[in-house]
């Protein structure tokens, strides 16, 4: 006999599934709309926003690329690669120093580095502008490289340090019996063992740098020096009426990180979860 509660349970399951699927549509549809608008003509965009493109104008992507998106992408790749490498190495050294080396003022250094987690970039913005102007690094990619690294080191050190603390100390002892110096133990024993968390931090730093807007907008003003997020807003204000080209530019900016997320999902989730929960 089918009881009332069993019916309710089945009904509940169906409703939950329907809700979850509807939400997935709400999430995906705007992104799909963006991709489709990137291959439409301007008049199609206004005539029926829900329609599929009549003729797929892939040359919108070429136009976007030639109107600066190519340069912005190059800059973004350059800044992202350089600052990610710098951040991860500097953080891994600091994490090693904090967990496995006898350093002076260990506790103070720990508080100083991890305290950086609390600092909002907006608070430092005005003095940083003055500082980089007097250093002659205003409107220079070095400004972005330095700032991204400085503001990402605390979180990255936090993640790598937590991971290194879980590595058994026997590893170091074995290395020092072998006569390995601290530096060699770091490069040849500890760093390779940290590979999973290093992959997580690399991915999270790529995501951050690729998408950062405030520093990129304030510290660069010249066309070729701009990263994708700032470049896109320029594309919009300069060629504001040619919307499909703007959509194509947005897709060019979005697709690499979406692909990266799906490719490295496991590592992303680990990094994000450790970052909040640990």
């Amino acid at each position: 006999m089918v009881t009332r509660s069993a019916v309710l349970l089945v009904l509940g399951r169906v409703l939950v599934k329907a809700f979850l699927l509807a939400l997935a549509v709400v999430v995906i549809y705007p992104l799909l709309w963006m991709l489709l608008n990137g291959v439409k003509s301007n008049s199609e965009l206004f005539s029926n926003p829900f329609a599929l493109p009549v003729a797929w104008k892939w040359d919108n992507y070429v136009t976007a690329w030639n109107r600066g998106v190519g340069d912005y992408l190059t800059t973004s790749v350059l800044v992202t690669v350089a600052s990610t490498i710098a951040t991860v190495f500097i953080s891994a050294w600091a994490a090693y120093g904090l967990t496995r080396v006898n350093i002076p003022f260990n506790r103070v250094v720990l508080v100083l580095i991890l305290g950086g987690l609390m600092l909002a970039p907006t608070v430092a913005l005005i003095p940083l502008v003055k500082m980089f102007q007097s250093l002659g690094l205003y409107n220079n990619l070095w400004a972005l490289l330095i700032l991204y690294t400085a503001f990402r080191v605390p979180f990255t050190t936090f993640l790598i340090r937590a991971y290194m603390m879980d590595l058994p100390t026997e590893v170091d002892e074995a290395a020092s019996v072998d006569g390995a110096s601290k530096a060699r133990a770091f490069w040849q024993v500890i760093l390779p063992m940290c590979k999973p968390i290093l992959v997580s931090t690399v991915l999270l730093n790529i995501l951050f740098t690729w998408n950062e807007y405030l520093f990129a907008m304030v510290f660069t003003s010249g066309g070729a020096l701009q990263t994708l997020p700032v470049g896109l807003t320029n594309l919009m204000s300069k060629h504001g009426t040619d919307y499909p080209v703007v959509f194509a530019g947005m897709a060019i900016a979005a697709i690499p990180v979406i692909v990266l997320f799906f490719a490295g999902q496991r590592y992303f989730i680990r990094g994000l979860a450790d970052g909040v929960g640990k």
């Binding site: 349970l9 939950v16 809700f19 979850l20 997935a24 999430v27 992104l31 608008n37 206004f46 926003p49 829900f50 500097i90 050294w93 600091a94 120093g97 080396v101 006898n102 350093i103 002076p104 260990n106 250094v109 720990l110 100083l112 580095i113 950086g116 987690l117 609390m118 909002a120 907006t122 608070v123 913005l125 005005i126 003095p127 940083l128 500082m131 690294t149 400085a150 503001f151 937590a162 170091d172 020092s176 601290k182 995501l207 998408n211 807007y213 405030l214 304030v218 994708l228 700032v230 807003t233 919307y243 947005m250 900016a253 990180v257 979406i258 989730i269 979860a273 909040v276 929960g277 640990k278």
Partner: protein
């Protein structure tokens, strides 16, 4: 993003290399080695000291100046910038908008995401759980700039899909220029931000729920406890710590909002969607009032500092054990 106190432990003293001769003066040698060891943390410490902590202190100093960045002239004006700030209706409007941002984000991105995560983890198909978690996260992977521009177009009255969708559902009365009106602009931006960020929170809650041992749910099931009671009696209490941390992270983020407002409205129309970040930017870089901008930055600093201290308190508390 927390500093866990219990996790800290002192580094083991360096063990002397197996074959090394004993040093003549062990204490001195030990101390020298210790200072040399500082090179491991030196790059990180220098970077943070110069580019994060120094500006923080400088900012406080600048907030007492009247400062024209183009002429470079600086005059000490005492607390004048703060007096002006507290008398500035746009400052209060910005603070209110940040608060709205925080409250709405707590509702959707903390509690909404928690319920959503419980729904996902309750699904029997592991494949679908993975797919939904990933799909919901996609907007968090794209930049706020792309998401902001995308919703700028979605809200756009002539080509946007929001008004078109309302029209097709017979709700034509509700169509409007969402970002062009003072009473809807900030809500339209906040709505975009929920779309962009809820998947990130859902993912984190899913991870927290997965860490709850399944025996607890199985035992409850055998005892005939329904899904609602299971959620309130098991899931909710056991992810309480995560909930607290997510609230702080969300609120802290809500007071640092900048990107999406800048891209979608620049704080307009008529400053109605201004937030502290954009008002700081506009004061400094558009109105050339750097001292005032520094005062607004100090306000942001105080708010985020208080939240960080609360966050530290929560993460120091003992964890639920099972």
């Amino acid at each position: 993003m927390t500093v866990s106190d219990t996790a800290w432990k002192p580094a083991a003293p360096p063990t002397a290399p197996f074959s090394a001769k004993p040093p003549t003066n062990p204490a001195a040698k030990f101390a020298r080695g210790r200072w040399r060891n500082a090179v491991w943390v030196l790059p990180a410490v220098l970077l943070l000291a110069v580019f994060a902590y120094l500006p923080l202190v400088q900012n406080l100093g600048f907030s007492f100046l009247k400062w024209d960045i183009y002429s470079g002239r600086q005059t000490f004006v005492g607390a004048d910038n703060y007096v002006r700030m507290f008398n500035d209706p746009i400052f209060w409007k910005s603070l209110l908008n940040n608060t709205l941002y925080a409250v709405i984000s707590i509702a959707f991105q903390v509690f909404g995401a928690m319920i959503l995560a419980a729904m996902i983890e309750g699904l029997r198909s592991q494949r679908w759980r993975g797919i939904l978690r990933a799909v919901y996260f996609v907007p968090s992977a794209i930049s706020l700039t792309v998401a902001g521009l995308l919703f700028y177009f979605i809200y756009e009255p002539e080509m946007g899909i929001l008004n078109a969708a309302l029209d097709s559902m017979g709700l034509g009365n509700f169509t409007q220029a969402w970002l062009g009106q003072e009473n809807t602009a900030i809500f339209a931006i906040i709505a975009m931000s929920q779309w962009q960020g809820f998947g990130y929170c859902t993912l984190l809650f899913s991870v927290a729920l997965q860490r709850i041992p399944s025996e607890l749910y199985e035992a409850a099931s055998i005892d005939g406890v329904g899904p609602f009671q299971r959620f309130f009696a098991i899931s909710l209490p056991l992810v309480r710590e995560m909930t607290g941390l997510m609230m702080i992270v969300t609120v802290s983020g809500a007071f640092q909002v900048f990107n999406e407002v800048m891209v979608m409205t620049s704080g307009g129309p008529n400053n109605s969607s201004q937030v502290l970040g954009t008002w700081l930017y506009r004061s400094g870089f558009v109105r050339n009032d750097f001292g005032y901008a520094a005062a607004v930055a100090t306000a942001v600093f105080v708010i985020t500092l208080v939240l960080a201290v609360i966050q530290l308190r929560i993460s120091k508390k003992r964890r639920v054990q099972w």
